[in-house]
């Protein structure tokens, strides 16, 4: 009690003397994580990229419907299955006033894709995001040609993740300098980075306007943008409610009502890109039997959990792909909730008294996993939830072919490109890195491999549909849902929509 009285006295004193000075057009984002670095080529984190993306532009970008559109490039032409040409716009300036040229774009791509191109023998940790890129050259002065080692239809979908740097600037300050300084061609320029606290940016007045396909084209609306780092969810929500910030990311579902009911704040959602599912260990004691897997699928009431635990903020899935992803099949069999059928299937499989299993998951998903476990238990699969930590669980389940120990794993896989290539393949191809179920089907492997390099979009979609139909019948996983990204926003905020790739683009956002 005494501390509270003291705080009250002290804070009242402070309040009386400080008149809050808030410039009219500041937009503050309450954000979960600080950037690791400001070097666009030297990180592997979504949060870092979101921060960098407001200072740097890419060759291509996405609109809010996830359609890939030219940004620094004026146009893109596919010359052959392995050659793409990008015509670079003229008149784009970096923050230091210098012109952005095709040379800078080539330099950017080389820096990411070539061995040791970061200096000091370091290779960009983003190299693998650029798949089989062999080289980049400048042709005709303003065109950059990217050549691939083999056909890779998702190159355009991956380019929005790479930001264009200035060759002259990188040569001047080095990779070490780029970690804390920036010279991008994006809508905002860096004012100050207070590590662990905030990143402060201001509008870049010579901005060329961004992608022509994403109106309104022009300078940014607000004078300053501040990413304020608040890792703890409850504190982030508090900051929004108190009016300290205008947008918060990762609003927990249980705080949605509180934010909606609060005057001056609202909730915005967008379909996310992360699919949640339960891997059933197909090399284990029970789940090697398709009947047992089917029993499990019928025992989980997805709709109930989406409704009650996720507050309705998720889309149900019957396969690994998000309904928004390329080639997501709408005609997959639904395994409806039917615990009696589950028990019957178990009995047919030789377990009339049911089975006892454990389900691994991370601490953050404990509640959801326990709800699922109680549903499974009702269906005859007595499930105990066992909480582990992310890194440890990956070691245990994503064994790339090595034996797995454990029965079930409640987990998720991200798909930022919304292309099956980086979610379907790793989770379903034999011994691939995300294949937690230990699933193996040569026919699926073949379809996935061929689809990855197929250039005819219709044929490619058809291959994925075939693969989806096979795995939907064989059920290595119980496919659950794709949660929406939930943002809390201030009603002062105008012109901003959350993006399905989890990036927060503030170019068009205004505050009243």
């Amino acid at each position: 009690m005494t501390s509270i009285t003291r705080a009250l006295l002290a804070s009242t004193a402070v309040f009386l003397v400080t008149a809050p000075v808030v410039p009219a057009a500041d937009l503050t984002v309450g954000f979960t994580l600080d950037a690791d670095t400001l070097d666009p080529a030297n990180h592997r984190k979504r949060e870092t990229e979101t921060i960098i993306r407001n200072m740097y532009d890419g060759i291509l970008t996405r609109d809010s419907n996830m359609k890939v559109v030219p940004e620094i490039a004026e146009s893109m032409t596919q010359v052959s299955p392995t050659v793409y040409d990008f015509k670079i716009r003229s008149g784009i300036k970096f923050h230091d006033g210098s012109d952005l040229t095709a040379e800078d774009v080539k330099f950017t791509i080389d820096r990411i894709t070539q061995e040791g191109a970061m200096g000091d023998g370091q290779t960009s940790p983003r190299q693998s995001l650029m798949g089989p890129v062999a080289s980049a050259e400048v042709v005709d002065g303003d065109t950059v040609r990217i050549t691939l080692k083999e056909p890779w239809p998702i190159l355009p979908a991956m380019l929005p993740f790479q930001e264009v740097v200035s060759k002259a600037f990188v040569e001047k300050v080095g990779s070490a300098g780029l970690a804390t300084m920036e010279n991008g061609a994006g809508p905002f320029k860096l004012v100050e980075w207070r590590k662990g606290d905030a990143i402060i940016m201001e509008r870049f007045d010579d901005y060329y306007g961004g992608a022509a396909d994403i109106p309104p084209v022009g300078k940014a609306c607000v004078d300053r943008v501040i990413f304020k780092i608040i890792p703890e969810s409850a504190s982030r929500v508090a900051a929004l409610l108190a009016g300290d910030v205008d947008i918060i990311n990762e609003l927990p579902p249980f705080s949605v009502d509180q934010v909606k009911n609060n005057e001056g704040t609202d909730v915005m959602t967008v379909n996310g890109t992360r699919s949640f599912f339960i891997a059933m260990n197909m090399q284990g004691e029970y789940f090697d039997d398709p009947k047992v897997r089917e029993a499990a699928a019928h025992a989980v009431d997805k709709d109930l959990i989406i409704d009650k635990i996720l507050g309705g903020n998720a889309a149900r899935i019957e396969g690994i792909l998000s309904p928004d992803a390329f080639a997501a099949s709408p005609d997959l069999t639904r395994y409806d909730y039917d615990p009696e059928l589950s028990k019957k299937l178990l009995a047919e499989a030789g377990f009339p008294d049911g089975i006892e299993v454990t389900m691994d998951t991370e601490g953050a998903f404990k509640d959801t996993a326990e709800a699922i476990a109680s549903l499974l238990t009702k269906g005859g699969i007595k499930t105990t939830v066992q909480v582990g930590e992310g890194a440890q669980l990956s070691d245990k389940w994503r064994t790339k072919g090595a034996p797995k120990s454990g029965d079930m794993y409640f987990t998720s896989w991200g798909n930022g490109s919304l292309d099956p290539y980086d979610i379907f393949t790793p989770t379903h191809k034999t011994n691939d890195r995300g294949n937690s179920a230990g699933y193996s089907n040569p026919e699926v492997d073949k379809l996935l491999d061929e689809a990855a390099v197929e250039l005819d979009t219709a044929k490619r979609a058809d291959m994925y549909h075939q693969a989806e139909t096979i795995v939907n019948a064989e059920l290595p996983y119980i496919y659950l849902w794709v949660p929406q990204d939930i943002y809390g926003v201030s009603k002062r905020l105008k012109g901003w929509k959350p993006s399905a790739d989890s990036r927060i683009n503030l170019h068009d956002a205004c505050v009243e």
């Binding site: 402070v14 994580l33 693998s128 508090a238 900051a239 890194a391 790793p426």
Partner: protein, 335 residues
């Protein structure tokens, strides 16, 4: 205390630090979870690229070799490169350290300024209502989870009453050229009283949250020790001489009663560092504690090792200071 003793104590630090290094090193390495796998996440990486990442981070070498390389480098002040920031670990830690030091110091001051008067008051009004409230309060103070208490303060003062900021160290408009990197001091040195108040308003809630358990402990120690001293002959004698009660308490009793308080305070200061991890997370305080927590989850070995060594050194030194203070305040005690 002689210079010889002092040097002896400092030499005793060496095995402690070696032990801590070994324990941290082994624990971090044996904890399941591979930093390279975490960095890769869901992304596609060929085995060659993965091997190259491992080589870049020096993780391809055997653990024993890595330990000795670490020790050798650490002896020359090189703690390696942070996996994620890709910059020297010491540089990354140095950026975060001042915020943690500032918060700990303010928490310490808050704890000392509140616990001692309250403890003395509780002692001289033994068994009064005030004494009982203080006793219950101090019990709560040690047992309330800092996390919960912090959120509570935050909801009350920042969200409902709207008189204090939710998180951070200072507003964005206050640009202060650093001198000591302690904002409360720098703002005053620069003559920026407005910025000083801004920084002060940011530090109040985290400092109270962080200092609460310490306040509670110190209050108990002061109360007990005060009661002890008040029973001594010289206090009775002073009272018998007809000195005023106030004079007896403050001139005669308090000075001696504070001896245990001061040494407990010095030791407890070390525990402030541990509390920082939680408090910094709740209040978005840009200090070292949060960085360490994040780094543990990411298996950022070099950063965690360096930070834990730093904590160990600080803890040992604070104990050392506590011993010295004790001998200074109480000349009968020899180390």
């Amino acid at each position: 205390m002689s210079l010889g003793k002092l040097i002896e104590r400092l030499i005793q630090l060496v095995p402690v630090l070696l032990g801590v290094s070994l324990i941290v090193f082994v624990m971090m390495t044996l904890t399941p979870g591979d930093p390279v796998q975490i960095m890769i996440g869901d992304q596609a990486v060929t085995p060659e690229q993965e091997a190259a990442m491992r080589r870049d981070l020096g993780l391809d070498r055997p653990i024993v070799e890595r330990f000795f390389v670490f020790l050798g480098n650490a002896a020359t002040g090189d703690f390696g490169t942070s996996f994620y920031h890709r910059r020297p670990v010491l540089e990354v830690i140095a950026e975060r350290l001042p915020a943690t030091i500032e918060l700990s110091l303010v928490a310490l001051i808050v704890a000392l300024l509140t616990s001692i008067p309250l403890g003395v008051l509780a002692a001289i009004r033994k068994n009064s209502i005030f004494d009982r409230i203080a006793t219950v309060g101090s019990l709560l103070g040690v047992s309330l989870p800092g996390f919960w208490f912090g959120i509570l303060l935050l909801m009350l003062f920042a969200v409902h009453l709207h008189i204090l900021p939710v998180s951070g160290r200072i507003g964005y408009s206050a640009e202060i050229e650093p001198i000591t990197h302690l904002l409360l001091i720098d703002t005053l040195l620069r003559g920026r009283f407005d910025a000083f108040l801004d920084a002060l308003s940011h530090i109040i809630l985290p400092a109270i949250t962080l200092g609460l358990p310490m306040t509670a402990i110190l209050m108990r120690v002061t109360r007990t020790s005060m009661l002890e001293v008040m029973r001594q002959d010289y206090v009775t004698f002073a009272e018998a001489k007809g000195l005023s009660r106030r004079r007896v308490i403050f001139r005669h009793a308090l000075k001696n009663a504070l001896i245990p308080t001061v040494s407990v305070a010095a030791i407890e200061t070390g525990s402030l560092l541990g509390g920082n991890m939680i408090v910094e997370t709740v209040f978005g305080w840009p200090g070292l504690g949060r960085l360490v927590v994040e780094s543990i989850f990411l298996r950022n070995y070099p950063l965690v090792q360096a930070a834990v060594l730093f904590y160990a050194v600080t803890y040992v030194l604070l104990n050392f200071v506590a011993d010295i203070l004790y001998t200074v305040l109480n000349p009968r005690v020899k180390l």
